[in-house]
Amino acid sequence: MTMLGRTAQNLFWLSRYVERAENMARLLEVGYRMSLTSRREGGASEHLVSMMQAAEVDEAFASKDRVADVDTVANFMMFDPDNFSSVYSCLLAARTNARSVRTAITSDMWESINSAWLEFSQIKPRDVRGAKLLGLLEWVKDIGHQFRGALLGTILRDDGFAFLQAGNFIERADNTARILDMKYYVLLPRAKMVGGDLDIQQWTLILRAASAHRSYRHVYHDRYKAHNIADFLILRPEMPRSLIFCAKYIEDNLATLSQFYGQKQSCDEAASQLRSMVDGTDMDTIFTYGLHEFLTEFIARNNRVSDTLSESYNFY
């Protein structure tokens, strides 16, 4: 009995949405912290807007003529059903996908996503401010951890697992690339080798958004430097949110799939093209190519993996 194309699609998106919910929470946390520490007039709002740009929801936000203050943005990112990437929308979409494939996931996975949704849907947006907001954002990240834990601990390592993992890491690669692209200019090499306060603040933002501000120290034993930060999030194979880690993981998973089904597919080629961008290169080469151009190309190739995967395995 072969898996339905729709089931594969549901599994893929289930994982993508869980990952996205977590990333949205992380981005909001960064935006929130930055807005608190901003001393300039209008600075808070700018941070929130650039955070929404990274999440690619800035246009949806602007379309309704809203003021980018902390409460409005937090509400928009957390609870707005019209924002397709809000935590609300992501958790609902994750649960809907999970419900459609209840027979293809384990009861622990179902439990984890179902109870997360049931709890989240009880929260009244008005009650979530200040410290409560940070607490809630932690909780959203925990949902991701719990779900992945249930997944890794209970599911069969078959085609379903590969679709779940592919969704998870395609979403993560996209997220990391976007965070980098949002602030790529502060990472560019400059004549002045020491970053000012402003740069340090921006770098912290980038690292925090990738949950990498502490692990950075473990890897580099050094103060924050633009070159290192870019290297860490793009080329470090031990960093689980770096582009190279994600790209290799995606390629491996798709290889597992083509082995499982006994046939190579166009998505295998797309995944290898994605990986080739970050494999066997260094930051100097990438800076020469142009960091922004590089990230744009990476995001496009990542999308191509997602599209060809849909075609190769009959999502519809």
């Binding site: 339905l4 194309g5 594969a8 609902l92 649960r95 179902w110 049931l118 089904y261 009959n314």
Partner: protein, 473 residues
């Protein structure tokens, strides 16, 4: 309302315990204080964990309820069950013979045993089924017969469900929960197993695969999708019997055969256990607006390339107006007297009966002929005078649209309630599978009205379920 107290399945009127309940009574006595309270809360946790829910219509996204489960099982003696299951088998055989006949030669109509208008003009009659030869001549493969008990030997059939009877997942999960909650109780007596229902369902479905299917037929469960109130059951059954759970868009018809879209391309489908109503099965033949169905599915069925379970058009056999003729149907096709009684039903088109009904409406149950799920129904003794008047008018205006029955004193079983253990009214839905043979799962789903004195067992109106035990000799 009945004058006598209702029949209690556990205690005789003198307070002694009826034979099948002996072991249970002793077990209950041995339980320390609060044991049942603990069991009841454990049960709720188990059900939540198992994820057995039903969606509540009209409520917000994600609100799914757990049907209340009562920890005290209902017990049926072996010889009682033998009698019941014989009656059920007789009934489902006759109903299938009836379906074959009315979709072919219509001998029963020619013989004048049933008025032809009642069938031919009936909404539930499906003319598209005429002349079709279903595998093994079976139309209704899965039937849930609703039975009520009013005395030690008095069982009545309330309704035959031949469309897509639901609830079997509760029967299975009730047993699962009971074995976790009170394993020692199972050691004291032999309880007939229900766990092989999914395996039997699979065998039944395989046995009715089309002649040109592969040796191990591909079986799918077709669901309207995650927003259907019985979605849990659909996914549960698919999971339990190793079938693929499909929605309409997962299937398509090519060259008159049905395929499902898999990750590796189209895969032929041989048997479809469909939980979609007839009208929505195929927009090409039935409701053109249906987004749930599969265009061309009925034609593929007609061409003999796939089996639909149950067949479309089986609803004619459980129509409330046809119900009154079931004893007649059994005699006509099997040449036997019906073993199970119908509930006496008054025919309002007959003037004498109608007049009697109109003057006694406060004691009677009125049901709309095409209503279901407790809608369009009035229970006389628990309704207001205004309701009585309203239904009098309705019956006078359209006497053929209603059937009227006496209010039955449903039997009671001891049930755990806030006040302790108290008798509550119950009914029974045994599940029957018809394929290469007739398989009746011992027991079935017992529904219990948790409100004191209530006769309404529907889960939407405060009903719960009980594990149902058939004892083995």
């Amino acid at each position: 309302m009945a004058e006598n107290p209702p029949f209690d399945e556990m205690y005789n009127p003198d307070g002694s315990v009826r034979e099948p309940y002996r072991a249970l009574a002793q077990w209950l006595e041995e339980q320390p204080d609060k044991a049942l309270t603990l069991m009841q809360s454990d049960a709720e946790a188990i059900f939540r964990k198992l994820g057995i829910t039903f969606a509540v219509y009209g409520s917000a996204e994600g609100t799914e309820k757990v049907i209340p489960f009562d920890v005290i099982p209902r017990i049926i003696a072996a010889q009682e069950w033998r009698r019941l299951s014989k009656g059920i088998e007789q009934r489902v055989k006759a109903l299938n013979a009836f379906l074959y006949d009315i979709y072919h030669r219509q001998e029963i109509l020619k013989a004048g045993r049933i008025p032809d208008k009642l069938i031919l003009q009936n909404e539930a009659f499906c003319p598209e089924m005429m002349g079709l030869e279903p595998a093994r001549g079976i139309y209704a493969h899965i039937i849930g017969v609703d039975i009520v008990r009013v005395g030690p030997d008095a069982f009545y059939v309330l309704e035959d469900n031949l469309r897509t009877p639901s609830g079997v997942s509760y029967m299975l999960e009730d047993r699962e929960a009971m074995m976790i909650l009170a394993p020692d109780l199972f050691q004291r007596q032999k309880v007939a197993p229900v766990e092989n229902y999914p395996e039997n369902l699979r065998r039944t479905l395989e046995s009715v695969a089309p002649a040109n299917a592969s040796a191990s037929p591909n079986i799918v469960v077709l669901t309207p999708g995650i927003y259907n109130s019985a979605y849990f059951e659909h996914s549960f059954l698919a999971d339990q019997m190793g079938a693929t759970l499909c929605e309409g868009p997962d299937l398509f018809v090519d060259g008159g055969k049905v395929y499902m879209r898999t990750t590796t391309g189209p895969e032929r489908v041989d048997v479809i256990y469909r939980r979609i109503d007839d009208d929505y099965l195929d927009p090409l033949t039935f409701n053109p607006g249906s987004m749930l169905g599969v265009p061309g599915l009925f034609d593929a069925y007609r061409a003999g390339n796939v089996t639909l379970v149950n067949a479309p058009g089986t609803g004619i056999a459980d129509d409330k107006a046809v119900y009154t003729y079931v004893p007649e149907i059994i005699e006509f096709y099997l040449g036997e007297k019906a073993l199970l009684q119908n509930v006496p039903t008054y025919n309002c088109t007959d003037e004498e009966q109608r007049n009697w009904v109109l003057s006694n409406i406060g004691d009677l149950v009125v049901k709309e002929v095409h209503g279901s799920g407790g809608y369009g129904m009035m229970v006389g003794p628990t309704s207001t005078k205004a309701m009585h008047a309203e239904f009098r008018k309705k019956i006078e205006a359209r006497p053929d649209n209603y059937i009227v029955q006496p209010t039955l004193a449903l039997s009671t079983c001891p049930t755990y309630v806030n006040a302790g253990i108290a008798p509550r009214h119950v009914d029974l839905r045994p599940y029957v599978l018809i394929g290469d043979e007739v398989r009746i799962t011992p027991g079935g789903l017992t529904r219990v009205a948790l409100k004191k004195g209530s006769l309404v067992v529907n889960s939407s109106q405060g009903g719960g379920t009980k594990d149902t035990w058939v004892l083995e000799d």
